[in-house]
């Protein structure tokens, strides 16, 4: 874990209310794994108060950079949008566990929706780098919110998208499951996707993991604020998203959370 000050290389709008910021952070780029997150503070003083958690959209070890894809939803991301190249940012990273890529995986599914799929680009790129046949299924309310399509395709993933909200993106995956054996599926950001994958994993026998979100103060487990309920053999317990997560096996999540 690294706590340091890094500088903004670029911060570009993607579409209305969405942006992508690139940070000069070589130590973090060198160690961060797909699914881990970062905490950022990029304003002076005590308002807002908490650092802000973001997923890692990509990490380029050669260039020493990381990218964050964000949606402007409140005061924190509103300030993020205003950052210009050269601005200094406090960063605590990389944090949390990650999407583990096991040696026996031959084919993987990556499922996400809109900006919630932000950490899936880094995951898909890493899966491909490790020679895993990677299918990416992304839904959005309209085509301009399919943010990382070009990156998924450049990485060599099989990319399938859906911009019709009357249908489910998991139905595209379900169709492929009929003729292909998948070893694992990854998702994040949507309880509906977690529920659907939970149903499919029982039928088609694959591992499934989801990255979870909860309000965070510290990002390092100290405040014990960001708990969710997980289930193990019928027993439930609270675990910290920042420390025991953010990635959990979906079989531990099916219950109150989703």
């Amino acid at each position: 874990m690294n706590y340091s000050t890094v500088s903004v290389i670029s911060n570009e709008p993607v579409v209305k209310n969405y942006g992508r910021i690139k940070l000069d952070a070589s130590e973090i780029a060198a160690t961060a794994k797909p699914g881990q997150f970062i905490m950022l503070k990029y304003w002076k003083g005590n308002v807002p108060y908490f650092m802000r958690p973001f997923s890692i959209n990509s990490a380029d070890r050669n260039a020493g950079t990381i990218e964050v894809l964000y949606k402007v939803v409140g005061v924190g991301t509103d300030l993020l949008r205003d950052l210009e190249a050269g601005a200094e940012v406090k960063i605590l990273a990389p944090l949390g566990n990650w999407f583990e890529i096991k040696k026996h995986y031959k084919r993987a599914a990556v499922v996400g929706r809109g900006v919630g799929a932000a950490p899936m680009r880094y995951l898909a790129e890493e899966l491909k780098r490790q020679g895993i046949d990677t299918y990416v299924y992304i839904s959005a309310s309209s085509p301009e919110y399919l943010f990382d399509q070009a990156y998924f395709e450049k990485a060599g993933c099989t990319f399938k998208q859906l911009t019709d909200d009357t249908k489910k993106v998991t139905s595209l995956f379900e169709e492929d499951l009929k003729s292909n054996k998948f070893d694992v599926a990854f998702t994040c950001g949507s309880n509906r996707l977690i529920r659907d994958l939970g149903r499919l994993m029982d039928i088609h026998d694959f591992e499934a993991y989801a990255s979870m979100e909860e309000h965070m103060a510290c990002g390092i487990g100290a405040c014990k604020g960001c708990v969710i309920t997980v289930y193990d053999e019928g027993k439930s317990e609270y675990v910290r998203v920042c420390r025991e997560g953010p990635v959990f096996p979906i079989k531990r999540l099916v219950g109150d959370n989703v």
């Binding site: 874990m1 706590y3 005590n46 510290c218 390092i220 604020g225 708990v227």
Partner: protein, 316 residues
């Protein structure tokens, strides 16, 4: 090591500097950020260990407010039996820093039982009695009731030979009175104070934001309130005061010392800046050195001289 004498002594508890975490804000083994060595601190303060196992409150447990935060974490704890069965105090010995255990319970008897179980433990340096968590049990805070406070402190004093630090609630009409009762009943020091009861409402969901409805307010927003309590209590007691509330930099710690605190705790600030406690320690030493003070004790209560500003009708 330091340019000035910033050590603090509370009975047998000897700290090389006056800075420690507030209970529950920076537990070593579980989670510190490893951004500085733990033996940088004057003491390590454990998250409150409850008499019995507690899972804590339902989420959401934290909320951001203007210049601060609220929490309704509710002391998740393995309970004292398991804590001791797992030899957890021993694990801190490698750190070479005094370890203060914060204890919590639902009744005076709970506290006495824990003191009894801890008696003679060689890995602990002091006990902080958390009599003021707003997030457990029925919401009753033992330190808000004069009789319960006195009874609990007195019984623990009888049971324990550790330095006893009593953490008071600010949710009272006269904290000064509670401070006096704690001292009379045998406290060796006071932590002033815990969080302030508060409420935040989610107007989209039309219900309280926190899973436990109410929560404790902390952070820089409450610093003037707690500083006032420290200022008042300093005039009422002779035992050391540990100031705790809204410290975001060394300047805040200096204010607490000038009001009458002998040491400080950092809570919510750790969540925002994991380097904060080290920055506060260095800042205190530098401030004393640059202002011609040889010892931290030279500024304790310096802005709180009895008779100098008491005739103001402000009930001091």
């Amino acid at each position: 090591m330091y340019k000035t004498d910033i050590s603090v002594k509370i009975k047998s508890l000897e700290m090389k500097n006056p800075v420690m975490p507030a209970s529950g804000a920076y537990d070593y083994f579980e989670d510190n950020a490893n951004v500085f060595p733990m033996n940088t601190l004057g003491a390590i303060m454990l998250k409150s260990i409850h008499r019995r196992e507690r899972f804590g409150n339902p989420p959401p447990r934290i909320a951001e407010i203007t210049a601060g935060m609220m929490n309704s974490v509710g002391i998740p704890s393995v309970g004292i039996d398991k804590f001791l069965a797992e030899n957890q105090p021993e694990k801190y010995a490698v750190l070479d820093v005094p370890v203060i255990i914060s204890i919590s319970g639902n009744s005076p008897e709970d506290y006495v039982e824990i003191c009894q179980m801890l008696e003679g433990n060689p890995y602990l340096a002091a006990i902080e009695m958390n009599l003021s968590c707003p997030n457990v049990g029925t919401g009753l805070q033992l330190s808000s009731d004069e009789v319960l406070l006195g009874r609990t402190v007195q019984a623990c004093r009888y049971m324990s030979s550790f330095p006893l630090i009593v953490k008071l609630s600010p949710n009272v009409t006269h904290l000064k009175k509670m401070a006096q009762i704690a001292e009379e009943c045998g406290a060796d020091a006071l932590t002033i104070a815990n969080t302030y009861m508060g409420l935040k409402i989610d107007i989209k969901k039309r219900k309280p934001w926190l899973g436990n409805t109410t929560g404790g307010v902390s952070g820089p927003a409450i610093k003037p309130l707690t500083l006032y309590h420290v200022f008042q209590a300093y005039r009422a007691v002779t035992i050391p005061i540990i100031g705790c509330g809204g410290i975001m930099g060394w300047e805040d710690a200096i204010e607490y010392f000038m009001a009458g605190a002998s040491a400080v705790q950092v809570g919510a600030g750790n969540f925002v800046n994991p380097m904060l406690m080290k920055e506060v320690i260095d800042g205190i030493d530098n401030y004393l050195d640059q202002n011609g003070f040889h010892s931290l004790k030279d500024i304790v209560g310096i802005a709180n001289q009895k008779g100098s500003s008491a005739e103001c009708g402000c009930n001091l």
